[in-house]
Each structure stands twice: as structure tokens, then as C-alpha cells.
């Protein structure tokens, strides 16, 4: 049970902790003027006032909002600023389907009251977090400008333009496209203070290879067939999933290749790591090439560059652990990247 003040009225609401404020307003308080457009904080349709400032009600869990004062679109019926905005919105045809309108009104009211008389560029900038798919924004911008012009201007934001710099030389040819098989690929190289033979001794022993991959446990190894578990945590994400694969080793070229796939529930991942050793002076260059392919929500959470960054760090960890192993040291047990990936996969694959 939480207590929350909504449009001036103290409400007691019984909602599970995972309920966000928008659902509390819509499902528990019957205030359906607050709309949900994405539940990812991008579209702005769910914007309400919390303690007087615009807030995404999809990104505030109800229990966080306990004790706070919330004003929804329904609470602006008698508000004089909203009244002026309503007239201006209608006059300038600043709404069509009406779905973004409540959130738009909240932001508009904030612009008018916080900034006062401002130019249209600033209004467009401030409106960037409220998407409208119908109007093309012109009417909205004009309506807000009209109401804002009746109010004193707040101190303007110091305008700092980024000056133009001359275009640099043309780009190098784009990197080769990923193979259709494993569309994401990444290479990482590391110089090891080890002779190629010493490094290969480690990199041809399945148990020691597995030990260098933080979070990996080798369960079974027969011929080229391997089975294992892979657990990772990356910041907020964590996961664990089991899979099977093939380990091939070529002592002649000092090349090893581990390919595996794991599935759990509706989701799957497929990956390959290939390592190759070449002499480099007294030491050895270790080249690690990773390829991966994901299916399911993780694949569809599109931050490809970010994912590349994470995998690059994984490859680095792997290479550093190899070096430690070769020196007879235990692999670093840092709860870093591997633990992040463990967390991520746990959510997706562990059912």
C-alpha cells in the first residue's frame, strides 16, 4: 500500500512494486489521460508532473513515487496556463489523434512557466522528448510560442554553437561486411610475453582454455565435442546458459577454434572464438577472432556498437587471462564484463 497525492487528492493505492506510475494512474486511479507510447522513456506520451516538474511516469515505479504529488492532464482543467495552452493548441491545430497531447501539454506548460518568452528554436529543442506522429509539430510550436510570449522571459541559455571545421580526408574503405553465418565479428590482438610453444601448450588444453574464459565451466570434453556452462554479469545484466560445442585444434598452425551454441527457452545464441598464435620477437602475438549471432530480445536491443565494445572487452580479458595462466597465475576473477553478460543472459535465457 502506498500513499500518493494525485491532482490534490490523497490516494491509497495497492499495487505491486513493479507497477510504474503510469499504470497506477491508469489502472488504479482511473485517470486514463496519461498515455503509454513506449514504456522506454522516449516518446513522452506518459509525461506527468511529479512534485511540480515533468516526469516520465513509465520510468518511475509507484513505490518510488510514494508520498509525492502528482498532477495529471485531468488535474489541469482549472489551471489558467493550461487553459491558455488549450485555446492556442486548438487555434493552431496542434493536435490530431490526441494521443501525444496530454504529455505534450505537460511539457508545453513546463516550457511556458520555466522559460517564459522563448524563440521557436528553443521550443523545438525542449519538445524533442515528446514525439507526435500526426502534426509535424508546427502547430504545437506556434501554440506554445504564442502563450510563452505573454510571459516574461527567463534568463536565456548561453548559446554555444559548435563551429564548423573543414571536412577531413575521405574515409577509408568500409570494413569487410560480416559473414552471413555469424553476422557480428570482432578481432582482438594481444602481445604475450611467452614463447609460441608455451602459449600453445595452454591454448590447446580445453580445461585451461575454459579456465581463461571467466564464467565458463567445462562440463564434458570428448574428442572435439565440448559441453559447458557460461555465466556472465555485466553491470545491470546477468545470465547463465548451458550449451554444447566443438573444439578444433591445429598444432601446426597453432590455431584453435571453439564453436558453440546455447539455447534456453525461446532464445538462442551462437558463437565462435578462434585464436591464432604467431611468433613476435621473443614473444607471441595472440590474435583472437570472435563471431556471434543472437536471436531473441537481446539481438533486438539494438546498440550494436555497444555490444561490440562489450565483446571487445571480453576478448581482452580472455587474452590477459591466457597470459596470466602461462605465468602460472590464476585467472583474474573480476566481476566485470563477464559478470555483466552473465546477468544479461540470465534474464533472457534462464527460464
Amino acid at each position: 500500500m502506498i500513499e500518493i497525492t494525485v491532482n490534490g487528492e490523497a490516494r491509497r493505492v495497492e499495487a505491486p512494486a513493479r507497477t510504474h506510475l503510469a499504470d497506477v494512474l491508469r489502472e488504479h486511479c482511473g485517470l486514463t489521460g496519461t498515455h503509454l507510447g513506449c514504456e522506454q522513456g522516449v516518446c513522452g506520451a506518459c509525461t506527468v508532473m511529479v512534485n511540480g516538474v515533468p516526469t516520465r511516469s513509465c520510468l518511475l515505479y509507484a513505490h518510488e513515487a510514494a508520498g509525492m504529488e502528482v498532477t495529471t492532464i485531468e488535474g489541469l482543467d482549472e489551471d489558467p496556463v493550461a487553459e491558455a495552452l488549450r485555446a492556442a493548441f486548438s487555434k493552431h491545430h496542434a493536435l490530431q489523434c490526441g494521443y501525444c497531447t496530454p504529455g505534450m501539454m505537460m511539457t508545453a506548460r513546463d516550457i511556458v512557466t520555466r522559460l517564459g518568452a522563448v524563440d521557436e528554436d528553443r521550443i523545438r529543442d525542449e519538445l524533442a522528448g515528446n514525439l507526435c506522429r500526426c502534426t509535424g509539430y508546427r502547430g504545437i510550436v506556434r501554440a506554445i510560442a504564442e502563450v510563452a510570449a505573454t510571459r516574461p522571459a527567463a534568463a536565456p541559455l548561453p548559446k554555444r554553437e559548435v563551429p564548423l571545421t573543414p571536412p577531413p580526408a575521405p574515409l577509408a574503405a568500409p570494413a569487410a561486411t560480416a559473414s552471413a553465418d555469424l553476422p557480428n565479428r570482432l578481432t582482438h590482438s594481444e602481445t604475450l610475453a611467452l614463447s609460441p610453444d608455451a602459449a600453445w601448450a595452454i591454448l590447446s588444453d580445453p580445461a585451461r582454455i575454459a579456465a581463461c574464459v571467466p564464467g565458463m565451466t567445462l562440463l564434458r570434453h570428448e574428442g572435439e565435442a565440448v559441453e559447458g556452462e557460461f555465466s556472465v554479469i555485466l553491470g545491470p545484466f546477468s545470465a547463465r546458459f548451458a550449451g554444447a560445442g566443438t573444439l578444433t585444434l591445429d598444432a601446426g598452425s597453432r590455431t584453435g577454434r571453439l564453436r558453440g551454441q546455447g539455447r534456453d527457452g525461446a532464445n538462442g545464441a551462437e558463437g565462435e572464438v578462434e585464436w591464432h598464435l604467431t611468433p613476435d620477437g621473443a614473444g607471441t602475438t595472440l590474435q583472437v577472432e570472435l563471431g556471434w549471432r543472437l536471436t531473441g530480445p537481446l539481438a533486438q536491443f539494438s546498440r550494436p556498437a555497444l555490444l561490440r565494445g562489450m565483446v571487445a572487452a571480453l576478448a581482452g580479458d580472455f587474452a590477459r587471462n591466457l597470459e596470466r595462466a602461462a605465468r602460472g597465475e590464476a585467472p583474474a576473477a573480476r566481476p566485470g564484463l563477464w559478470s555483466l553478460i552473465r546477468a544479461w543472459f540470465r534474464g533472457l535465457f534462464a527460464r
Partner: protein
Amino acid sequence: MKQGVGAPITRKEDDRFLRGRGKYVGDIQLAGMREVAFLRSPVAHGLIRAVRAPQGAMVFTMADLTGVLPIRAPSALPGFRRTDQWPLAQTRVRQVGEPIAMVVAGSRAEAEDILDAITLDIEELPAATDMLAHRAGPPIHEGWPDNVVLQALVDDDISDVQAPIIIRRRLRTARQHMAPLEGRGVVARWDSRLNQLEMHTSSQMVHVTKTGLAECLGLPESAVRIISPDVGGGFGYKGILLQEEVAIGWLARKLGGTPLRWIEDRREGLSAQANCREHHYDITVHADRDGTILALDCEAHVDSGAYSAYPFSACLEAAQIGSILPGPYVVPRYRCKTWSVATNKPPILPYRGVARTGVCYALETTLDAVARAAGISPVELRLRNLPGPEQMPYLNVTKKIFDSGDYPEALRRAAEAVDAPGFAARQKAAREEGRLIGQGFAVFCEQGAHGTSVYHGWGIPFVPGAEPCQARLTPDGGLELRVGVHSHGQGMETTLAQVAHEILGVPVDRVQLIHGDTALTPYSTGTWGSRCAVMAGGAVAEACMELRRRLIPMGAHLLQDKDAVFADGAVRAGAASVTVAEIARTFHRAPQNLTEAMQAQGLECTVGHKTVRDTGTFSYACHAVEAEVDAATGHVTLTRYVIVEDGGVLLNPLIADGQVLGGTAQGIGTALFEEMPYDTGGQPLASTLADYMLPGASDVPDIEILHMETPSPISRFGQKGIGESGAIGPPAAIVNAINDAIAHLGREVTDLPATPERVLAALA
């Protein structure tokens, strides 16, 4: 203030939306309502081996849905290959997000907990994801030799054309998502009193949904009622019968009274539901030395996705390409071959502008290349090839009848507005400062409100006939209008009231528009194809005219003057008059004062409307853009945007502008931002609005609109359909501006959207 046709009055519907009192599907609360969620395929192509549900959970698969038929949207065009889209997958899934199982719980969160607990065993198969590479197969549908849904040919052998200028381009438009702010949603229950399925759903076309749903569920149409309340944007996305609607309809009937709700969330919408716009063009323009078009030759592909969506079918888009590629121009010779290709992606749906956006992009960017080859300006080239006003009505090479207008004048006005003649000097000066600026134009026309004669040839599940309106005068003198179209942003509660006011003089605020309910409105194909201003507007006018014809003798009888006439909302005889309200009150509450025949005739009628010729109105426009390209980052900034639009007589100029502005913002999205990428395994790579980027307020310039108003000779007031117009021109005009900015480097952008990466690749 004038309220009738042409008055820019503010909208009647605004107040409820501005106060958060609109009522959308997700706002409906019914006692005892349960939440539905769908288990969806994580892979683009696969065979379901097992679905294991947790103990005690309410989980349904297709095996449970006895008696339910798949959604089928065939076309009668020769060679069309039919698909069966089951409401829940049987054994094979063909797109990520395809529904596999339906679960029911007390809340959405709990329903998703059950989804988490289901074990799905699925064997992944190779996915067809590229319409060119996978056209020949391997086929994704059993029994097909390849992945061609339909191949069509506009066959004119143009091999004899001798042209000094031959320009060929290969161009691609991105797969997009329509992304209305409100997604789809369903609230349904079985009404045991009426023995009827009552389904609230966010739809543009309730009657078509009802027909399709009744067929899939094996119910008579009388046992289905579809209600579409306030709808948060359509754009084509809500003109489709959903698998979810069929599955929930079945379950609601089975449960016999428990209300069910499913509200599509953004991730479902982006990753699982219908897409649009993915075309590939291999286009060649043959032109004379002076830029006169001699022939147009094209091979075009449309990625139709996995299934033929109801009712427009998987072939509409490609068939449209074949018929409209020549655009607004005089094209003497024309050949076009099109393929609709099935892939392991969501079905393609007609999005605002349908194929016109892609076609306009392909033709207009290629024409700019022709202009560069001919050494004339893009404006000059277009002026040489547009039909003149003296040629109207103009029958073009694909037998389209352009009804009226002065196309060259629209271009001239746009060119003047952006000072086209002076631009070269400004561009040169900018280049000397190291800045790349360009100017681009696009001219296009939009066929709207086309009807029976156009659609019956395609043999798709529906063919529009006469558009109906039911009009009823109430005892207090109010007017109720019932229409089968749906208003979801277009402002029809206002514009159709204006039409009624024009005919009957009833004040706009006394006119109530009832729409979006199959139980209350006459059968119609609904809202699509820029048809409502023309078709529903015409229907309202005809119905009100019928009432007027009945009111006049009643008024004359009451005034005791057989020569009485109708004017300004009253029947008048000299100085004496009786208002519409007075006649209505008399008819309903004092019928004894009228004749028996008048009493029998009544003040309620349903009338159907067709335009004089049902080949459609042709609005047209010129978009003129100035853009600056940041050569270092590839970013494009739109610095000027002017539209000259001829939508015929505008029912309400304020609302017409709104349609053009909103469409243009969507077109800017197509041009610069929006892309639904898939990896080679068919995984959609944009599942949030942080990945699928819609244009925001700071991404859209302050668009200027200049109007021409050439009446259409075929519509009731001379109005033309313009609802989709804005979304057609921007990609062509914007990319032409980009290409103009970098033309001195000999580079061009070919693929949409023109992201920084693509612009940099063009410059590299």
C-alpha cells in the same frame, strides 16, 4: 463566423483530447477483465517442436483453436500465390514475433511472467531476408517453387527507343514501421444476451475487420460487433486484420463473458507487427537532349514479408508501382516489371502514400540525374515534362485520368518561393566557405478516393462501392450523422459537420458524428486511400440533400406556401420561415401537423455516394527543399521547406494544412531517420524508439505551405484527397537537395534513409 465548406474553424474534437478525456482502447475498463499476452517466435524461420506450459497457467496454442481458419488475403491477379496466416502458428513460424501461444492472467505483468515460464523448443531454419538474393528461394512457403508472391509486367517493348540520354539508377528504400503513437489493442468479450462477440479494437476499418474476423471464426456477421473508439493514429497500421484479433475473438467466445484485453506494447509493435515501404528499383530513364522524357523502364522489387495481410494483400504495393511509376509526367513509352517477394519478415502494409513515396523517390532522383546530364536545371526539366492545364483531364500512359490542375504552375510557384534561379550563386558562395548546400524538388500527384473500377480488377478481399452516410434529424433539431469511415486525427467530426452545415444550415456544434461501430454505422470499407474528404464528405452531402428534399415540402406545408424554398437552415416563403429545428420538432413530436405521406417518409435516411467517375481525384504538389550537408559527419540539416499543394476545394484549410504538415514530417522520417534493419538471420534490430528513430520537433523545419485550389470535376464540392500527400514528396526532394549539394563532387546518395553513414559513404 462561416462554418460551412472552406471555413478554417477549429476542431470540435480538440477539447476532449486537450483535457485527457479521449477514450482509446487501452482506456476501457470492464469488470473482471483479464489480460492476454502472446508468446512470439524468437526466430525468423523455424519449426516448432514443442511448447511446454507451466502447470496451472492458461495457455493456448493453435491446436486449441478448433474451427478457426487462417487469415487469407489473396488477389485474383494471375499467378498470385496465396498464404495462410494462422492466428497462432501451427508448426512453422516465418517471422520473428509471429504469435505461437496466447496466455491469460490477471495483469499484463503476470501474463508476461507466464510467457517467461513457457519452454519453447524450436528448430531454426535458414531465413530469407533479402528480396533480391532470396527471390529464387529457398522457398519459405510449402509448395512454392520460389519466393515470388506475384510477378507483374506492364509490357511495352521499348527496345526501339533511341535516346541520346540514358540514365540508370539502382535505388533502395528502407523497411519502415508506421509507428502511430498508440499501438494496436483489443478489448473483447462475448455478449451472451446478443449472442455476439463485442470487440473494441484500434482500427481504421471496423466493417472490413468484422467481415474478416467473422470468416476466420466461422461466425455469421451478425454475431460480431466491432467498435473502434478514439484511435491514436493510423497511417495504414490499423488497416489490417490481426492474428491477435482472431485469437482473442476465439477465446472471448470460449470464455463466454470474461472480458479480455491485449494492448500491443512498443516492442511488440516494432519487432513483430507489420512493416512497410521496402522497395528496390532498377530504373532507367531515356530522354532527349533537351530533357524530354522518351521512355521509362523499370524493374522493381517489393519485400512483402511472410504473409499476405488482410485485406490489401501482399501484391498491392508492387501492383501500384507498375501503375504509378510515371508519376505526374508525360511519358510516351513505358515498361515496368515488378516482383512481390516473400521473406521472413513481418507482412508489408500500405503506409501513408503506399508505393507513391518509393516511386516518387525513384523517379524524381533519377530525373535530377537526367537534368544534370542534359545540362538543365531540375525545374526546367520538370517543366518540359509535366502536362499543362490545357491537357486536363489528362490520360497518362498507364490510363490514369488526372482530373484537373495546373501542375507546371505548382512547380513554378515553389521554385519562385525558394528563389531557384538565385540558388546557384548562394551555393557557390557557401562552397567557398566550406559549406555544402543544395536545393531539391519533387513533383508528384496522389490518386485518392478511387473506387470500384480500380479495385475490382485486383480481386483482393474488398472492393469499395458507394460510400454511405446515415443522417437523422433529432426532435431538438440536432443532426446525427453515421458513417462507416473512421476519424483518428483527420478531424472528420468537424469537417463532416461542416459539410452538413453547408447543406442544412444546422450549426456545427449541433451535428454529432457517429463512427467506429459496426452496430451503429452503415457498412463501409473504412478509412484508407485518402478517400474520406471526398467519399464520406460526398456521402454526408448526399444524405443531407435527401433530408433537405424532404424538409422543403414539410416546410412548405407548414408555411402553407407550395413555392417555399430552402435557404440558410430554414424553409422560407417571403418573410415567413420555418427552421430545420422547427420542422424536426414538428415531425417527431407533432406529426399531426404533417401529411401522412410526410410522416411515412421521415427525417432519417441512408444514402450512398460515388464520385462522377470513380477513377479518383488527383491532388498534386511540389516540395522544394534546401538542405545543408555536413561533410565531416554526414548529417543533413533542412534549412527551408516549401510545399505548393493543390487539394482542390479544401473542406477546412486548417485541417488540410495539418494533414500535409503531418505527412511531411513522416516523409522526413522516411528520408533521413526511419529504418527497420534486420540481420541476416531475420532478427529485427530496432525494438525500441531509441533505435527506431521518429522525427522530433527539432528534426522538422518550419514548413511553409502555399495553396492552389483547382476544383476536381468529379467530387461533390471539388475537393480532392490529400491525406497521404505530405508523406510522398520528402524523400525525393530531400535526397535531391543532398545530391545537389554534393553534385560537384560527382557523388549521389542512392538508398534511404539518407543517414549520416550513407551520406559519408556517398562522399567517400
